[in-house]
C-alpha cells in the first residue's frame, strides 16, 4: 500500500512526519503533471516539430518528473556512521542546516527548471504581437495575460520567461568562462611566483581599475552585438577577482606539506598544480561562481537597460525594464515583473552563495545560522 502510494504520489507518506518536505514534493509533482496535461499538445508536437528548445524542454520535463519522484519517495537513510564522509559530504550537511540557503537553492532549481521548460510554459509566443495592436497593447494583468501586455501587445509573462532563459544562460556561461580563466591565471601566478606572478597580478590590478560597465560598453560599441558576444565579454571582464582569490589560496597551499610530499614523490608541476593544488581551491571557486552568476545577471541587465545588452528581438529583463520605463505610469506591470524577476534571481543565487560560504567556513562551526 505504502509502496503504491509512493509510486503515484511521491512524498505523500511523509506528510505527517516531514510535512514541509512532503508538501514541497507533492506540490512540485502536481505542478509538473498539470503542465503535462495543459501543454499536452505542445509536448506531443515536439518529436514532430524538432526545435532544439522544445527537445531541451522535453528532456528537462522528464528529468524533473524523475527527480521529484525519486526525491519525494526516498526514505530517510538510517544514520549508519560518521565515517567515510568526504569534505563534500560534511559541507553538504552544513549547507542543509542553513535554511535561507536551502530556500535559495530551491529557488535556483525552480528558476533553472522554469528556464528549461519555457517552451512548454510560456502561454504565448514572446515575439507575437496582437492582431489588433491598439486593442491588445497595454493590457493589465488578466487570465489571458497574467503579467499584462506591452506596447506591441506582446505577452509579458512569456517574455519574462524567455528573458529568464537568456539571463541564466548568459550568467552561467559567462561565469564558466570567467572562473576557468581566473582559476588558470591565479593558479599559475600563485604557484610560479616571481615575475609571472608580478606581471599577471599587475595586469589584474590594471583591469580591475577600469570601471567594468564602461569597459563593457566600449568593447560592445565596436563589435556587432550578439548574445555570444555578451557572454564572452562578460566572461573576459569578470575573471580578475577569481584570479586574485585563487592566487592567494594557491600561494598558501603550495607551502603545505602535501604539496611538498607530492614533489618528493617525483610528480611534475602540472600534475601537482591541477591534481593536488587546484582541487583544494574548488570550494572558494564554487562560492565565487555562485555569487558571480547573480552579479553577472545583474550586470547583463544593466547593460541591456543601457541598450548595450543582448540585442532585441531576443527578450531580456534589462531591455524589458528599459522599454517599460517610458510607459511606467500607464502600465507599471511592464517594469514590475521583469524587475521582480531580476531581484528574485540575483537574490536566490546570493543566498546559495552565502550559504555555501558559511558551510565551507570552519569558523562558522559547520552550522551556519539557521
Amino acid at each position: 500500500m505504502g509502496r503504491l502510494l509512493d509510486l503515484v504520489l511521491p512524498g505523500a507518506r511523509d506528510l505527517r512526519k516531514r510535512p514541509v518536505r512532503a508538501a514541497a514534493a507533492l506540490a512540485a509533482w502536481a505542478a509538473l503533471w498539470v503542465l503535462v496535461v495543459v501543454r499536452w499538445d505542445r509536448i506531443v508536437a515536439t518529436p514532430g516539430g524538432g526545435a532544439v528548445d522544445a527537445w531541451i524542454a522535453l528532456v528537462s520535463l522528464l528529468a524533473a518528473l524523475a527527480a521529484v519522484w525519486r526525491l519525494g519517495g526516498r526514505r530517510p537513510e538510517p544514520d549508519v556512521s560518521v565515517e567515510m564522509r568526504s569534505q563534500w559530504g560534511l559541507v553538504s550537511d552544513a549547507f542543509r542546516r542553513h535554511r535561507l540557503a536551502m530556500a535559495g537553492l530551491a529557488l535556483v532549481a525552480t528558476l533553472a527548471f522554469l528556464a528549461l521548460l519555457t517552451p512548454y510554459l510560456a502561454p504565448h509566443d514572446p515575439a507575437a504581437q496582437g492582431a489588433d495592436i491598439v486593442a491588445t497593447r497595454f493590457q493589465p494583468p488578466s487570465w489571458e495575460h497574467p503579467m499584462g501586455t506591452d506596447r506591441f501587445g506582446r505577452d509579458v509573462l512569456s517574455r519574462v520567461l524567455y528573458g529568464g532563459r537568456v539571463s541564466l544562460m548568459v550568467g552561467t556561461l559567462a561565469i564558466i568562462i570567467a572562473m576557468t580563466l581566473g582559476s588558470l591565471v591565479g593558479a599559475v601566478a600563485g604557484y610560479a611566483r616571481g615575475w609571472i606572478d608580478a606581471v599577471s597580478m599587475r595586469t589584474v590590478d590594471l583591469l580591475l581599475s577600469l570601471p567594468r560597465l564602461v569597459l563593457l560598453i566600449t568593447i560592445i560599441a565596436f563589435v556587432d552585438p550578439s548574445t555570444t558576444l555578451i557572454i564572452v565579454v562578460l566572461g573576459l571582464t569578470g575573471w580578475m577577482g577569481t584570479s586574485r582569490l585563487v592566487r592567494g589560496e594557491v600561494l598558501s597551499l603550495r607551502e603545505r606539506e602535501f604539496v611538498q610530499a607530492a614533489r618528493v614523490l617525483g610528480f611534475g608541476t602540472p600534475r601537482i598544480l591541477f591534481k593536488h593544488v587546484l582541487p583544494n581551491v574548488a570550494t572558494p571557486i564554487i562560492v565565487a561562481a555562485t555569487l558571480g552568476i547573480g552579479n553577472t545577471i545583474l550586470v547583463e541587465a544593466s547593460l541591456s537597460f543601457l541598450g548595450f545588452g543582448v540585442p532585441p528581438p531576443t527578450p531580456s529583463w534589462g531591455d524589458m525594464v528599459l522599454r517599460g520605463v517610458r510607459d511606467m505610469h500607464d502600465a507599471p506591470w511592464l517594469v514590475l515583473f521583469p524587475g521582480i524577476a531580476i531581484v528574485v534571481t540575483v537574490m536566490s543565487f546570493n543566498l546559495v552563495g552565502d550559504g555555501l560560504r558559511d558551510a565551507l567556513d570552519p569558523r562558522a562551526g559547520g552550522g551556519g545560522h539557521s
Binding site: 567515510m84 569534505q87 606539506e257 611538498q260 614533489r263 618528493v264 614523490l265 611534475g268 591534481k275 574548488a282
Partner: protein
C-alpha cells in the same frame, strides 16, 4: 661567518669508506645551502655537510631545531627552492654514482619517489585532504611504474596491509581526516615505499605522534628496512629515537656535522661537548638520581653562526683556541677501533689509512687536547 672556515681543507676524502667497497649508495660532499639574509649577505643554513649512506644502512641525523638537518634532507632530493635558496658550488650529492646537484628536472623526478622515498614530520597535513588515501598511494604507482588503475589498486591494498593499517580496504577508501595521526603516518610510509626505493629519508617521522604510536612507527620502519634492504636516513631531534633504529649517527649543530660514529659508541662516549650536553639533557630511567644538564643559550640563527668553533659560546670547556680557530672533523684516537685513523700527518703521524664513515669524528679541539675537558662541565637543573 666566512666561507674558508666552513670546509676543512683536507687533501683526502675523510668521509670515504675505506676498504674499496666502491661508490656508496648516497654520497654527500661539502653540501652547503644558503639563503639570502636580511642585508643581502647569504646565510649558510647548511654548511659543508658530508656523509655516505651505504646499501641497507641506517644513518641517524640528530640536532636541535634550526641546525639544518631537514634542509640537508630536502637538499638531497634537490627540493630546496632556488631561488631564494642557493646550493654552493662544490656541493655534491651523488646517488649510485650519478650527480644530483644540477641534474635535469626530469631525472630528479625519476629519483624522487621511485629511488628515494621521503616521509615527513607532519602526517596531519602531508596527505592531500581532497583525495582518498588509496588514490594518493595509487597515484605514485601510476606515475612512476606506469601501472594500470586496477593493478595500482591491488598494489595499494598490499602496501597498506604491509604498513600494518588495520583495515587496508577501509583505509584506502577513507579521506585523510578520517584517519588518526598514526594511521596517516603509516599511509605516508606506504606512499614512500610504494616504488621500492633504495633509500628512505624519514624527517622527524614520529615527532607529531604520541609516544606509543612513535614506538610502533619506528618498529615498522625497522621492519620494512629489514624486509626490503633499503637504506634509511632518519632525521630526528630525539636521541632515543635515533639510537634505537640506526647503525650510525651524525650530530648536527649550526649547519655542520659536529660528531659522528657508530650509534652505540657515540652514545656511550660522546666526544663533542654538544653531544655530551644533549645526552645529559635526556632523562634516564636507569639513573633517576642523576640531575639533568642544561646547555646554556640557544641555537644561533643561520647567518649568525659564531666564528671559529660554532659551539664555543655555549661550550663549558671552551678556551681561547676555540674562539680563534675553527676545528675540522678530527678522528678520535684510542677509541678501540683498529682502523681508527687520523686526520693529517701533522697531527697524527701514526695513521695512514683514510678514515672511514665508520670512524668516530668530532669537530672539536678537545680531541687534540683532551686534558681541557675539566671543570664542572654543564650546569645541572636545580629542582
Amino acid at each position: 661567518m666566512t666561507a674558508p672556515d666552513a670546509v676543512p681543507a683536507t687533501p683526502r676524502d675523510v668521509h670515504a669508506e675505506s676498504g674499496g667497497v666502491g661508490e656508496p649508495l648516497l654520497r654527500v660532499r661539502d653540501l652547503a645551502v644558503s639563503f639570502p639574509g636580511r642585508s643581502g649577505v647569504p646565510m649558510r643554513a647548511v654548511d659543508g655537510v658530508s656523509f655516505d649512506l651505504h646499501e641497507g644502512e641506517a644513518l641517524g641525523l640528530v640536532g636541535e631545531s634550526g641546525c639544518g638537518k631537514s634542509l640537508t634532507a630536502l637538499s638531497i632530493v634537490r627540493l630546496v627552492d632556488e631561488p631564494p635558496g642557493a646550493t654552493a658550488p662544490g656541493s655534491s650529492v651523488r646517488y649510485r654514482g650519478a650527480e644530483l646537484v644540477g641534474a635535469p628536472a626530469s631525472r630528479l623526478r625519476e629519483v624522487r619517489g621511485a629511488e628515494i622515498g621521503f616521509v615527513f614530520q607532519e602526517p596531519m597535513t602531508s596527505l592531500n585532504p581532497v583525495h582518498r588515501v588509496g588514490r594518493q598511494v595509487a597515484e605514485t604507482l601510476i606515475a612512476h611504474e606506469g601501472l594500470s588503475r586496477g593493478a595500482a589498486r591491488a598494489r595499494t591494498r598490499e602496501l597498506l596491509a604491509r604498513v600494518e593499517l588495520p583495515d587496508p580496504d577501509r583505509a584506502a577508501r577513507a579521506y585523510p581526516h578520517e584517519l588518526s595521526g598514526g594511521m596517516r603516518q603509516r599511509a605516508l610510509i606506504a606512499m614512500a615505499i610504494a616504488c621500492n626505493p633504495s633509500i628512505l629519508i624519514a624527517d622527524e617521522p614520529t615527532t607529531a605522534l604520541d609516544v606509543t604510536v612513535q614506538a610502533q612507527i619506528l618498529e615498522l620502519l625497522a621492519r620494512l628496512r629489514r624486509e626490503t634492504g633499503m637504506a634509511l636516513l632518519l632525521i630526528s631531534h630525539d636521541l632515543a629515537v635515533v639510537g634505537n633504529v640506526t647503525d650510525r649517527v651524525a650530530v648536527m649543530y649550526a649547519g655542520q656535522i659536529v660528531e659522528r660514529g657508530p650509534a652505540a659508541d657515540l652514545f656511550r662516549a660522546p666526544a663533542h661537548p654538544y653531544t655530551e650536553g644533549l645526552l645529559r639533557a635526556v632523562p634516564s630511567i636507569e639513573r633517576r638520581d642523576r640531575r639533568l644538564a642544561v646547555i646554556p643559550g640557544r641555537v644561533p640563527a643561520p647567518g649568525s653562526w659564531p666564528s671559529a668553533c660554532r659551539f664555543h659560546p655555549r661550550c663549558p670547556y671552551a678556551w681561547e683556541r676555540c674562539a680563534s680557530e675553527a676545528p675540522p672533523e678530527l678522528p678520535l684516537r684510542g677509541a678501540g677501533d683498529a682502523a681508527e685513523p687520523a686526520v693529517s700527518r701533522a697531527e697524527a703521524p701514526d695513521a695512514s689509512a683514510p678514515p672511514g664513515d665508520r670512524a668516530r669524528l668530532s669537530r672539536c679541539w678537545l680531541v687534540d687536547e683532551p686534558g681541557r675537558r675539566t671543570g664542572r662541565g654543564y650546569a645541572e637543573v636545580t629542582a
